[in-house]
């Protein structure tokens, strides 16, 4: 068990530089985008260079566009026109709920196309929806820019749209239900028989989560947590796998989105602390067996530890999955970067290699998240035996 944990820790550490890399890439991308939004000073140049710019391939932009969420599900480009599945935009505005199709933006992400709905006007700037300004600024963008922070100054409605990630999330939920409900039914049909079909595939995994993750790490009261751990494990795993499928309805970066991993980490955080016993809190705020002078100091460290544990869960899953997507897309982009088809064998082989690795990572990250959740719960419920 400890050996495995060391191995997993190593993998996690490996993934860390990838996060930094993606962060840098992202900020670079943002700057580029902002430059684009208020390319005020050289608007003529901009127009002149438009065709040239379109020719130039920007891998960071493409990759970041994929990694991030979007209001439509982009499938492919056809004759330079993006083809995407429109998804519902749901906004909770000052005047109540407003719903319209994402196709109303006509693929505009620069804030130049205003959508009028529910008596209000909205623009899409880099997949974030703002209340549109009354008039366009010098670049045709219906938004005010804050010149200090280089961010859009307009107010935003509460955006609960069915975005690409939400759609993928719902799809994965359906996949999970289609996988496990028939399995459960097959058990009801032939009780006490050897598992057949999908139950035969599912059972070893369920038993693995129950025995090796829950029972080993939580202790005698593990049974209560098994359904939650199973749900977390399969939710992450199936979403990871669907993220590796390169075409619709896969390919969305659901578990590589920090909002998703945050929700999962918060579930762990809440379950851990709600089940924390006297010893758990005692060890946090008044560590036994230490000089009194050190105790408050350690209490601060331990208190921060309550939050850093689920925070690390959130970052680890997000970083690993996002890094995987970035690497695959970068390798695919090689052909366009070098502008030669001769690089494609290397590109395909490397992509294949990374994809296979990502299959492992998909299962591994689901395992680590579930295992650590079980460990945290186990530590919170641990009884003292001094």
């Amino acid at each position: 068990m400890t050996k495995l944990n060391c191995f997993l820790l190593g993998l996690f550490l490996m993934a860390s530089p990838a996060v930094l890399a993606s962060e840098e890439a992202h900020s670079a991308d943002e700057h580029a985008a902002e430059a684009h939004v208020h390319a005020a000073e050289h608007s003529d140049e901009h127009a002149a260079n438009a065709t040239e710019e379109k020719e130039a391939f920007n891998p960071a932009e493409v990759i970041m566009h994929h990694i991030a969420d979007s209001h439509g599900w982009h499938l492919f480009d056809w004759n330079d026109h993006p083809v995407s599945i429109p998804l519902p935009v749901i906004l909770y505005t000052e005047k109540g709920l407003v719903v319209f199709s994402s196709s109303e933006f006509h693929h505009d992400q620069e804030g130049t196309h205003v959508v009028k709905a529910g008596g209000q006007r909205f623009v899409n700037i880099h997949e974030k929806i703002y209340y549109a300004s009354d008039v366009a600024n010098d670049h045709g963008v219906f938004a005010e820019m804050d010149h200090e922070t280089h961010e859009v100054a307009n107010a935003t409605p509460w955006d609960i749209s069915i975005t690409k990630n939400v759609a993928a999330l719902l799809f994965s939920a359906v996949v999970i239900l289609l996988l496990f409900l028939p399995a459960a039914r097959s058990y009801k049909k032939n009780p006490n028989a050897a598992p057949k079909g999908v139950a035969g595939f599912v059972e070893p995994l369920v038993v693995f989560v129950r025995d090796d993750i829950a029972k080993n790490n939580i202790g005698p009261h593990y049974k209560r947590f098994v359904p939650m751990l199973l749900t977390i494990f399969f939710f992450i795993w199936i979403n990871n796998l669907l993220g590796l499928v390169p075409f619709f309805p896969g390919g969305a970066n659901v578990t590589g989105n920090i909002a998703v991993t945050m929700v999962l980490a918060i579930v762990t955080f809440v379950v851990t602390n709600v089940n924390g016993n006297k010893h758990y809190w005692g060890h946090i705020f008044w560590m036994p067996g230490l000089p009194v002078a050190v105790k408050p100091l350690l209490a601060i460290v331990e208190f921060i530890g309550i939050f850093t544990k689920p925070f690390s869960l959130m970052i680890r899953l997000f970083a690993n999955i996002t890094a995987g997507h970035i690497i695959v897309l970068s390798l695919v982009s090689l052909v366009f970067i070098f502008e030669t088809v001769w690089v494609s064998p290397a590109s395909v082989l490397l992509t294949l290699f990374i994809s296979v690795l990502e299959l492992l990572v998909a299962a591994l990250q689901a395992y680590i998240f579930t295992l650590l959740t079980a460990l945290y719960i186990g530590a919170a419920m641990h009884e003292e035996h001094h």
């Binding site: 969420d69 069915i162 939400v166 999330l169 409900l181 359904p227 749900t231 920090i258």
Partner: protein
């Protein structure tokens, strides 16, 4: 939307989806699956245990059988022995009784023969005595027909008595 800034919409939908999924799976998948797996584990364990018990019972039964067989064999042996002894005894008894009877018969016969013989002897003695008396009478009659002979006779008898 920065990639490290969690979006509100996705948080909302993820929370909703996750908890609905948790509820549905817990109720309709995990509960029956975990129960079925546990039931099966228990049934396998109990089957193994009962198989073990059956094996032990079989072994004890076998040893029991062997014991029974052994006892039966011993009993048969004893019975045979007894029968043999009985037979021998019966034969011996029969033999004893027969020889005794024979001896008795012989004895009786002997006694009868003896008695008959005695009776015959007595008869013969009586006959001889009668004969002797008759003879003596005839002789005496013949001898003592005259007085002289009688006198001589008495004299001779007197002489014999003096010699004694």
């Amino acid at each position: 939307m920065g990639i490290v800034t969690p979006g509100f919409g996705l948080i909302f939908w993820t929370t909703l989806t996750f908890f609905i999924l948790l509820f549905l799976l817990a109720k309709f998948a995990w509960k029956p699956i975990l129960k079925a797996v546990q039931d099966r584990e228990e049934s396998i364990n109990s089957a193994l245990k009962s198989a073990e018990a059956a094996k032990a019972e079989m072994a004890s039964l076998q040893s029991n059988n062997e014991q029974l067989l052994k006892a039966a064999r011993e009993e048969r042996e004893a019975m045979l022995k007894e029968a043999r002894a009985m037979r021998d005894k019966t034969i011996a008894d029969a033999k004893g009784a027969a020889s005794e009877e024979a001896a008795k018969v012989l004895e009786a016969a002997r006694a009868q023969i003896h008695n008959e013989k005695m009776a015959a002897m007595t008869e013969v003695k009586n006959q001889v005595a009668q004969l002797a008396i008759d003879m003596s009478e005839r002789i005496l009659r013949a001898e003592l027909k005259d007085a002289e002979a009688q006198k001589a006779m008495v004299d001779r008898a007197m002489q014999d008595v003096k010699m004694n």
